[in-house]
């Protein structure tokens, strides 16, 4: 392989060492080399958001990031988020609110919403729409997606309050 790069990266908590071509996009590395096909490829020039993944806890475009740029970093995909159970409530809300039809954009939406719920746990609908503006859905028209994320935010806030009350009573 011409211009081989020895990549060492943590993906969904597991150490991965692979030889990659420098031109390999992170999204192709995840899908083709690691078989993590949960993240999708849409436009391949940063417009649609289907390939959104987390690098060191921050959302990035998998098609605008080279695999070699993640050397030494931690990457998390929708598979990792799912297995950890951290977004089970968000996924349930998407299901209940019917926030997907074909599902192509859904992995990107879930990863983007994960970052939003961490950064702005009390996001308004307007803030949710703005944050999701880089993730295209061509089926549902966004309303149900915003609903699902808003519901998750409210449930998490209520859950935290409940936990705080319980802790106070226990003390």
């Amino acid at each position: 392989m011409e211009n081989a790069f020895q990549l060492a990266v943590k993906v969904n908590g597991a150490d991965v060492a692979k030889t990659v071509e420098p031109r390999t996009h992170l999204i192709d590395f995840l899908r083709n080399d690691l078989g993590l096909t949960g993240s999708h490829i849409g436009c391949e020039h940063g417009v649609c958001g289907a390939c959104t993944v987390l690098v060191n806890g921050e959302i990035v475009r998998g098609c605008l990031t080279l695999a070699c740029q993640t050397h030494g970093a931690e990457v998390e995909t929708v598979e990792g988020l799912t297995e950890s159970g951290l977004i089970a409530d968000l996924q349930t809300a998407f299901h209940q609110r019917n926030a997907l039809q074909c599902g192509y954009c859904t992995p990107g939406m879930l990863v983007c919403a994960t970052a939003l719920l961490t950064e702005k746990p009390h996001a308004t609908r307007e803030e949710i729409r703005e944050y999701l503006s880089g993730n295209f859905c061509r089926c549902t028209g966004y309303e149900a997606i915003v609903d699902a994320i808003e519901t998750t935010a409210k449930n998490r806030a209520a859950g935290k309050q409940l936990a705080a009350t319980n802790n106070a009573e226990a003390a």
Binding site: N3, E58, S133
Partner: protein, 283 residues
């Protein structure tokens, strides 16, 4: 749409990055956040032999306030600017502008230095450098030099940087007392490139404006100072008559070119609308 083949090196120091640039002059590109370069590679608009990844050069990632200026390292990301308390306190227009650059996932990687060095005529930061009278430190094997932003931009994606030079830091003079500024851009959808956008800054003593600077982006082949409009507003209170005179100057100042969706006439009209809104915000 896959990128063509290229060699890749992670520079471990600024000196190494400059040495590689010198050695491969004209055939190497600096890779910072990659949010413009990688799409250009994917679309095969650019086919360099070598990418010099400078992302490990942490000394280029900082926001520092000195007695006279705010210094921003070239690798500082749009998201870092958006969240910086110092930037918000000293230059709230930069905080506002950062939030308008593409989308959160792109702001997490794209850098201020990369945007300025690329000189995309539709980007926010190149225009900000003109409006806020910034200067830029360029580094190469030959040493460093500091150039005013005023003379940096030469045309579409064209700057005064030599092939062996890279942008190291951005220097923003601290605002004089009474300085007001405003930023705005008009887009069809959130995160799109602006149809037109501008930064306006002026010093206000009493109600009178002076040292007015107006920089537009997205209208011409490079970011522009609207010098006629600036002169039309200086010494006035930014009243309706002065704004009308400034708006009239924009035809000659900007001489807009069409983009895929908007004619020069649309861009001129919207630039005039935007200018009036921004001058009103200086009050």
């Amino acid at each position: 749409m896959k990128a063509p083949s290229f060699a890749y090196e992670r520079a471990e120091s600024l000196a190494r990055a400059c040495a590689l640039l010198h050695q491969h002059a004209g055939n190497a590109r600096i890779l910072a956040g990659g949010q413009s370069l990688i799409p250009a590679l994917n679309l095969r608009l650019s086919q360099p032999d070598l990418l010099i990844d400078i992302s490990q050069l942490n000394e280029l990632r900082h926001i520092t306030v000195t007695a006279t200026e705010l210094v921003v390292g070239a690798l500082t990301r749009h998201a870092d600017i958006e969240r910086s308390a110092d930037v918000k306190r000293l230059f709230p227009v930069l905080t506002q502008a950062a939030a308008q650059i593409a989308h959160p996932a792109i702001r997490n990687r794209g850098t201020m230095g990369g945007s300025i060095a690329l000189a995309d005529p539709a980007a926010e930061w190149p225009a900000a450098t003109l409006a806020l009278d910034m200067s830029l430190t360029l580094a190469s094997e030959r040493g460093e030099r500091r150039v005013p932003a005023d003379s940096f931009f030469k045309g579409i994606y064209e700057t005064g940087m030599a092939q062996d030079e890279m942008l190291k830091s951005i220097h923003i003079p601290l605002p004089a007392a009474g300085t007001r500024s405003a930023f705005g851009e008009l887009t069809r959808r959130s995160g799109d490139y602006a149809i037109t956008g501008a930064f306006v800054t002026a010093r206000k003593s009493g109600a009178t404006l002076s040292a007015t600077r107006i920089a537009f982006f997205g209208v011409a082949g490079q970011p522009l100072l609207a010098r006629g409009a600036m002169a039309a507003l200086d010494g006035t209170t930014g009243d309706a008559a002065a704004v009308a005179r400034a708006q009239a100057c924009l035809a000659a100042d900007l001489d807009p070119i069409a983009d895929l969706y908007n004619t020069p006439a649309t861009k001129l009209h919207l630039s005039r609308v935007l200018l009036a809104r921004l001058v009103a915000q200086l009050a």
